[in-house]
């Protein structure tokens, strides 16, 4: 194509004044792509957790707006939520977070027996949490608190139920990692599978005290 005829006004001016080194910095690249600071799996999971935070922020925002615009909360005639037993349950879930952290330390130290042991403790504590939650829901439904019994019930089951679903999903994940750990998958020091599982588990654990405080105590 006709390149020689295309010298514009600016181009001639610039040619006088500026060297060909551009604003972007001319220069040789490093010999190879540097190792990423955060690996793909960790980065991907961090973003997934970010999206989850926005999902729950939407739900919590809706809850707060509905809660603050109601004159009486909880509404008259609705059953009280089980504060003490759920408080105990909160401790169970927090303990599972500690267990998961110990599992991760064991994985980093390449201690396979302790890794699978602490994963099992995590999973059992998570299962205990879900069982107590489920039992309490059955009792609350018996007392007449359902999705349809008004905003109090709707917001309760939406927030607490969706958190429960997330715990269930995370529990399956912990179970899979536990099985893989028993088979020695992480013996060679490639522990990113344990780490991503830990990150997600700690997310569902850390989310719970916020929801407990807002829905049960506030």
């Amino acid at each position: 194509m006709a390149r020689e005829a295309t010298a514009g006004i600016l181009r001639e001016d610039v040619a006088e004044a500026v060297s060909p080194v551009s604003a972007f910095g001319e220069g040789p690249p490093p010999p190879s792509r540097p190792e990423p600071v955060i690996s793909n799996a960790r980065l991907g999971l961090m973003m997934f957790i970010g999206a989850e935070v926005m999902f729950f922020a939407g739900l919590i925002g809706a809850f707060l707006v509905l809660r603050l615009s109601s004159e009486v909360w909880p509404p008259v005639g609705q059953p009280r939520l089980p504060v003490w037993i759920t408080g105990f349950n909160t401790l169970v879930l927090l303990a599972s977070g500690v267990a998961m952290h110990r599992a991760w330390l064991a994985a980093a130290a390449r201690e396979q027996v302790r890794l699978s042991g602490w994963l099992l403790v995590t999973a059992v504590l998570g299962a205990v949490f879900l069982t107590i939650q489920g039992y309490e829901w059955v009792r609350l439904i018996g007392f007449g608190l359902t999705m349809r019994s008004g905003l109090y019930g709707s917001t309760f089951y939406a927030l607490i139920g969706l958190h429960g679903l997330h715990v269930l999903g995370a529990l399956v994940w912990v179970g899979v990692v536990w099985r893989l750990a028993r088979r020695g998958r992480y013996a060679a020091g490639r522990t990113v599978g344990v780490e991503t599982c830990k990150m997600y588990w700690l997310f569902v654990v850390a989310l719970w005290p916020v929801l407990y405080g807002l829905v049960y105590l506030y």
Partner: protein, 580 residues
């Protein structure tokens, strides 16, 4: 040539899958997934376009028989006449399909997938399998949306914004499963977008070629980066709101219903997602436009960093302006003023971008190719749409023009104007995507028809709106004060039909070029960015060797360099460069 490329790739351990299914259907290759998204979007564009034509027929010649549609069964149509319930369905589904299944799949899904790895010098995405899932989950969402046309009661008819309480219970619209499927479809689509955005961001942070610093990324990649962050954080809020809406409809809860709940809450949640969504749609268009303008002006983009920072500013501002959609919904006037001010601030980064585009063109050695024409078309429509946006941002004006055709004119200039950037991108990257050139002549015909009839369709809508013509009304002739606009509505409709017919050259050109177009060379536009260093179309794995990046993407007409372009991956040897 392909054999040579393939053997070169074998050395790098990237093998192209051989079978039909793994190559064309369940492909994990980012380029094939990008093409799949492109075809999905183009297919849906036809459906969305036909719905628009039906809307226009009803507005020009209300309650008359639509030619050729006498066969449509009742109650969708009565001997070809569109009833009010069907009219509601038409504009709802037109908007939903155009936004979620045309612009998003083509600009974000299609070009995002095709361009991100190859323009940053990577072999593929960070998570190729997740990428494939993203497309197929998106396709399921599309099937659900199309299926909603065929359920009893018809498709969703509560507007694309789906305001409650109208959509909160089936009794208000008479549409039960149509809206339920609408909710489910968008819910599923959210997962597709989530997978896509995680992939884009991870790829962009971790997979850039050596030397490809953030400020050497092409602006289309910057725009997709910011879009992915917006998608990642905005869509979950819609997902939460859709979940609650679904509970309201199916389990009879009261989140958004007046009996105990708050109808206005839906509007807040929807627009908290909805305004970032506007930028999810328009940012990739801005990025593509920047690249195309620079290439065909043979000049560096004017104000590269200002372009990147202004996109970041737009993304940030998009989170704090959602209230401007709700000025007449009932809001504390002080809060309305706050939203008015934050919205006005958006004019600043938008103006920076517009002036930088003009500055890029100024004094350039412009090559009037089809992509350039469409990019200029996008800029000119964006100026009109942006300026009318300032009218609406101002509460005293908005109270007068809210929910009128002025709004319809505005968002078609911005959002439907994206179609110009979309066509620019298709014509620009067609040689790379499909290995063949498109016809220049038919491209110009397509541009002229689209540009002229686009403006003849949407510009008069400003006058309708100021004259009090409400949007979404079934039959304007039922209002005495709107009878004067009958002729203008006929004019708009004829223009809209011509706009539709103007797409025929595109379809013919696209299909003809796909099979019989001239073979594309590696770098037909003499552009700098990395994708033009790969073969057309690029093989599995994109590059024979890992590209090394030496400079930014817009080094056109560099003094002292013989050619007027300087690819990002070409080292400046002693022969090529002379330091002045």
């Amino acid at each position: 040539m392909s054999e040579a490329a393939a053997s070169a790739h074998a050395d790098h351990g990237a093998h192209e899958p051989a079978g039909f299914w793994s190559h064309y259907v369940f492909s994990t290759d980012h380029k094939m997934i990008g093409r799949q998204f492109l075809f999905l979007g183009l297919f849906m564009l036809i459906i969305g376009g036909i719905l628009a034509m039906l809307i226009r027929w009803q507005l020009a010649w209300p309650e008359t028989e639509v030619p050729g549609l006498g066969w449509v069964p009742e109650p969708t149509m009565y001997e070809g006449i569109i009833p009010p319930s069907t009219y509601n369905m038409l504009f709802t589904m037109h908007a939903t399909i155009m936004i979620f299944f045309v612009v998003m799949p083509i600009m974000v899904g299609g070009f995002g997938n095709f361009l991100i790895p190859i323009m940053i010098g990577a072999k593929d995405m960070a998570f190729p399998l997740l990428n494939m899932l993203s497309f197929w989950v998106g396709a399921v969402a599309g099937v659900l949306m199309i299926a909603s046309f065929f359920v009893v009661g018809g498709a969703a008819s509560g507007g694309w914004t789906s305001y409650t309480p109208l959509t909160g219970a089936a009794v208000y619209t008479g549409v039960n499963w149509g809206i339920n499927l609408w909710v489910l479809s968008l819910f599923v689509l959210a997962f597709s977008s989530l997978m896509g955005s995680i992939n884009y961001i991870t790829t962009l942070i971790n997979m850039r070629a050596p030397g490809m610093t953030y400020f050497r990324l092409p602006l289309s990649i910057w725009s997709l980066f910011i879009t992915a962050i917006l998608l990642l954080l905005a869509l979950p809020v819609l997902t939460a709101a859709l979940g609650m809406l679904f509970f309201d409809r199916v389990f009879a809860t009261n989140f958004f219903l007046p009996a105990g709940g708050m109808p206005l809450l839906w509007q807040h949640l929807f627009w908290f997602f909805g305004h970032p969504e506007v930028y999810i749609l328009v940012l990739p268009a801005m990025g593509v436009t920047s690249d195309v303008l620079s290439v065909f002006s043979r000049k560096p983009i004017f104000g590269y960093r200002a372009m990147a920072y202004s996109m970041i500013a737009l993304a940030f501002l998009s989170w704090i302006v959602w209230g401007h959609h709700m000025f007449v919904s009932g809001m504390n006037p002080l809060l309305g003023t706050a939203f008015m001010l934050t919205t006005m601030v958006i004019a600043v980064p938008s103006a920076i971008k517009t002036f930088n585009w003009l500055g890029t063109l100024w004094g350039g050695s412009i090559r009037f190719t089809v992509p350039l024409l469409f990019a200029i078309g996008f800029v000119s429509n964006f100026v009109i749409g942006g300026l009318s946006g300032i009218f609406m941002a101002s509460t005293p004006v908005d109270i007068f023009i809210h929910d009128t055709y002025f709004i319809v004119a505005h968002f078609h200039y911005v959002v439907a104007g994206i179609i110009f950037a979309m066509f620019a991108a298709i014509y620009f990257w067609f040689p790379k995507m499909f290995g063949r050139m498109t016809s220049h002549t038919w491209g110009v015909v397509h541009f002229i028809g689209t540009y002229v009839f686009f403006n003849l369709t949407f510009f008069p809508m400003h006058f309708l709106g100021v004259g009090g013509h409400m949007r979404r009304i079934y039959n304007p002739m039922q209002y005495e004060y709107l009878e004067q606009f009958g002729d203008m509505n006929v004019f708009i409709t004829i223009s809209a039909f011509c706009l539709g017919l103007s797409q025929i050259p595109f379809v013919v050109n696209f299909i003809w070029s796909l099979f019989a177009g001239e073979k594309a060379p590696e770098n037909p536009w003499e552009a700098n960015t990395l994708e033009w260093s790969a073969p057309s179309p690029p093989p599995h794995g994109n590059f024979a060797t890992q590209p090394q990046v030496y400079r930014g993407p817009y080094e056109y007409s560099v003094p002292g360099v013989e050619e007027d372009w300087l690819p990002q991956d070409r080292p400046l040897g002693a022969a090529a460069a002379t330091g002045h």
